[in-house]
Amino acid sequence: MPRFNAAQRRYNKRVLGLSLLYALLLVAAIMVFKQAHPAGPLAWLLAILPALPIIGIVAAMGRYLVEESDEYLRAMEVRKSLIATGFMLTVTTGWGFLQSFDLLPHADFYWATIIWFGGLGVGGCVQALKR
């Protein structure tokens, strides 16, 4: 059996494509903001552009769960996602209160997604330890 099944290959392709698109849009948005100083609706559009591929990656994960025909692999992915969600909520809630009392610096909201992706790694480690 190949290392990745069909659903995993499609997921990997989507995530790779969206990651490249994210890098491209982020660099483009930074350059335009630095050089052209856009304002109004254009600024809003440019600022939101790098977020779209990240949202796309989250959607790709959801799509993978729908397309994965192996119920065990699907269950493991769902468990990892739940661990990641708990991890993200724990970190952001803790950080938020510490920030409220001026003990930690302000963190932008998009860190929640980054922490969630990190939580997937934590979930993977938890599962590996359980084996």
Binding site: M1, D70, E71, Y72
Partner: protein
């Protein structure tokens, strides 16, 4: 839930990979079911039973 998957597989001289191919699931799935880390859904349990030509209750046994 306990199961006799490993014994049934050994009787047929199948590897975990052979069984996984026949069931169209991953080898990890077969391993997780055999070692009791994962209880399959009813549809998969019935597919396993059909493959071994046995009733489900002859393969999967209650812990009680």
């Amino acid at each position: 839930m306990r199961n006799r998957l490993k014994i049934l597989r050994a009787e047929r001289d199948w590897s975990q990979g052979d069984l996984a191919d026949r069931l169209e699931v991953s080898r990890q799935s077969v391993n997780a079911i055999e070692t009791g880390r994962y209880d399959p859904s009813l549809p998969l349990a019935f597919r396993i039973a059909k493959l071994f030509d046995l009733p489900v209750e002859m393969i999967f046994l209650s812990n009680e």
